[in-house]
Subunit: 445 residues, 2 copies
């Protein structure tokens, strides 16, 4: 058997079911898949390979799965911080979206986001936004693996000025992208239980069911939302979604902060998954999700950065550190969310949450070759007793040296292989400059 | 007037009292000091300079002040995580210290730490540990500005097997390093109110007072400590320290998590400062300090990473992000700890906390030239509406391109100018390998 790529001389952190770590190992890739993951021994016999890559003693690990993004919102990175959620949304983000979210800007913002994802080790993202066609074009160009959902909301939205057409727009997106490209899976992104009617929620879920696609929905993010839904329907947000029969194994509940025990039981019973977004929930002051309880209830949990307007970056290494530490301090228990659990959440757990755990999320023969090589020749990686500890507690996205997705290198030696970074930055800055002028003008009147 | 160094073409984030940010500015340095900080205009007339450095549109800002480190503990980075505090200390850290903390290993660990500090933009640290002489040698070699304290504790400690000699050892250190080198200020590092007797605490403070030096002490870190001190003395840890007359404007209270209103009032009245260590307090599950109340009470507050056994890195950019977000989520209020406040805490606030705010902490003519240039040519810095937001919420230590301390470049283009990184990593790894063998042996019996 001949290999396409042979990665040698790495600490292979497999994240397989036994959480095996090979101190010195090799990984073989053929036709976009992982075919061998083995220990390097003095008597090792390795297959021929078209390409041999020396990991140089660094960490070889599965690509990270970011289960919640709004890629084009990179355009609003740092536009407005440190504000109450509703001021932030109504006075800054929504007006900026109304003024600037159009196909070209979405493409520029999504491409910027993909460059950031790649350079910091995310190989799969689960995204939802408006003009998702443009996002999909950018993602396709970037080589990132993605689940993408056209946004459904009962308000006039960029590209869908008439909310009556929101399901139709989502259906068009689904039809266009379904089974079209191996790295892109269309899905349905319903904004939330408080911005969509019962009918919209059910139609959106119906569209997802009819195409066996993921149904993403922001749920139970803030106390505001919790109280609103309680007042409207006399149910918690999760109980409300459950009453509409929206929870099943193809539903991804994003944020899931304001939950009671019964909600957790409902989610667990339904098979629905949760995208946990600690960084965004911290920055917006939304609250602390009960991730320990989710894991105990065997709910599939992935990590997500959320959009750059509320994080403000997409570094999943930072998100891991955050997930590990936030729950320790909130429970005053340093034993919760240990490094293995957190790393699983950011890889195989995220893959499970979006229904792709048979395909990605660990370095196991037969899976698609989504692989990172981390450079560990730096002070913050030294010494190294437990690689998984360093991945969670000291690594940064900037330690990512090489990124392979579906067997193809997208990053080599910290540089994008197929994208022109300077062009991407220039295009995003051009939109940013227009937003800056608009902001200055608005503030002056 | 001729300059030694002229830094041009940068976004100058001064952190001066008006928090002035110059969109395109220049900074002049002469004889180790900042002499000019000005806007670059088409008609600007700049003095001659021996050296002109192009910031390339990046951010020029004051060096970061890390107010709490245990530099040599880099050697224990990731050795034991996710454990209850007392198990972690008694079963892992204390035995490892007893077996491996000696002058040579301390030097290797401290040099590793300094390399990490420099490469991630910390120009001043406030440190306390054992064999502090060796740490001081390493710090001196590195060019980092530091306040260093020989550890005082009423237990047998590395280098001070007889606790009766702990004050004498601290005095020796003080005498050796006092007024010896411009970048090094000796201080007294008393371990804590629960590991030092009344007499030790008072003698240590007396030594600090007699030399007009900083008195550092871990205080009110955990509920365990709080309850212990309450049981012993019927006082909170802070009230206890106050009853011994240990609080004044040269006292730095480290951690300060378990405080009541009366404690905060006592600290404010005394002029004592606080080193806030959110990352370490999160990882150890110690609790959340009342930083908002400290700031309102006008207590000087700096940020600190703590040692690498409990963080596990020394990236002050990460610490800023943490400080900004932790207090938002714990108060469910996204308006607290805004980016300006946090950036001040990591620079001028830290300088004030360690008594050096006249000398460092902001880019103001007359201050010592401790300056960073950040590379902003990357996706996570794009677009940029508010530089201070990006410094706090998206930057990483790896964005630091150049570091000047006291007018001398210590990092250029992300590389150490005067230290050999490979040698430093090799020496630290040699100690790490011995620790790994010892750990494996211990676990096998």
């Amino acid at each position: 058997m001949e290999l396409d790529t042979l990665i040698v001389n790495g600490i292979v952190v497999t994240v397989n079911p036994d959480f095996e770590i090979i101190g010195k190992g090799w990984v073989g890739v053929r036709n976009g898949r992982i075919v061998r993951v083995e220990t390097l021994r003095p008597d090792s016999v390795m297959p021929m390979a078209r390409e041999i890559v020396d990991a140089d003693g660094g960490v070889v690990m599965p690509g990270l799965v970011n289960t919640h993004t709004h890629l084009p919102m990179t355009l609003f990175r740092g536009l407005a911080d440190d504000l109450p959620l509703m001021t932030w949304l109504n006075d800054h983000i929504f007006p900026a979206e109304a003024a600037f979210i159009e196909p070209e800007s979405v493409h520029a913002g999504a491409l910027l986001a993909c460059a950031e994802l790649l350079l910091s080790g995310t190989t799969t993202c689960c995204d939802g936004y408006f003009h998702e066609d443009s996002t999909a074009q950018a993602v396709l160009q970037s080589g990132v693996r993605a689940i993408l959902g056209q946004g459904v909301i009962d308000y006039p939205a960029p590209g869908v000025p008439d909310p009556a057409k929101n399901i139709a727009a989502a259906r068009d997106f689904m039809q266009h992208w379904r089974n079209a490209y191996p790295l892109i899976q269309p899905s349905v992104f319903c904004h939330s239980p408080y911005t969509c009617s019962e009918k919209t929620l059910q139609s959106a879920k119906e569209l997802a069911r009819s195409t066996d696609s993921l149904f993403q929905i922001h749920s139970a993010e803030t106390r505001y939302e919790y109280e609103l839904i309680k007042a409207r329907y006399h149910l918690s947000p999760i109980a409300y979604l459950d009453s509409l029969n929206l929870l099943d194994s193809k539903t991804l509940l994003v944020h899931a902060v304001w939950l009671d025990d019964a909600d957790i039981e409902k989610i667990a019973r339904s098979g629905a998954a949760i995208s946990h977004t600690p960084d965004s929930a911290m920055k917006l002051g939304s609250g602390i999700a009960r991730i320990q309880d989710f894991i105990e209830a065997k709910i599939p949990v992935g990590l997500g950065t959320d959009g750059c307007a509320s994080n403000n970056n997409q570094d999943m290494f930072q998100e891991m550190d955050r997930a590990a530490k936030l729950h320790k301090v909130s429970s005053l228990n340093p034993q919760v969310m240990n490094s293995r659990t957190v790393l699983e959440t950011a890889t195989i757990g995220g893959a499970r949450a979006v229904g792709m755990d048979r395909m990605i999320g660990s370095l196991v023969p037969g899976k698609q070759a989504d692989i990172l090589i981390l450079d560990t020749q730096s002070p913050h990686w030294t010494p190294m007793y437990h690689p998984e500890s360093h991945i969670v507690y000291t690594a940064k996205g900037s330690d990512v040296r090489d990124v392979m997705i579906d067997g193809k290198w997208q990053v080599r030696n910290r540089s994008l292989v197929h994208l022109n970074l300077n062009d991407i930055l220039d295009q995003a800055r051009a939109v940013g400059n227009r937003i800056q002028e608009w902001r200055t003008h608005r503030e002056s009147i």
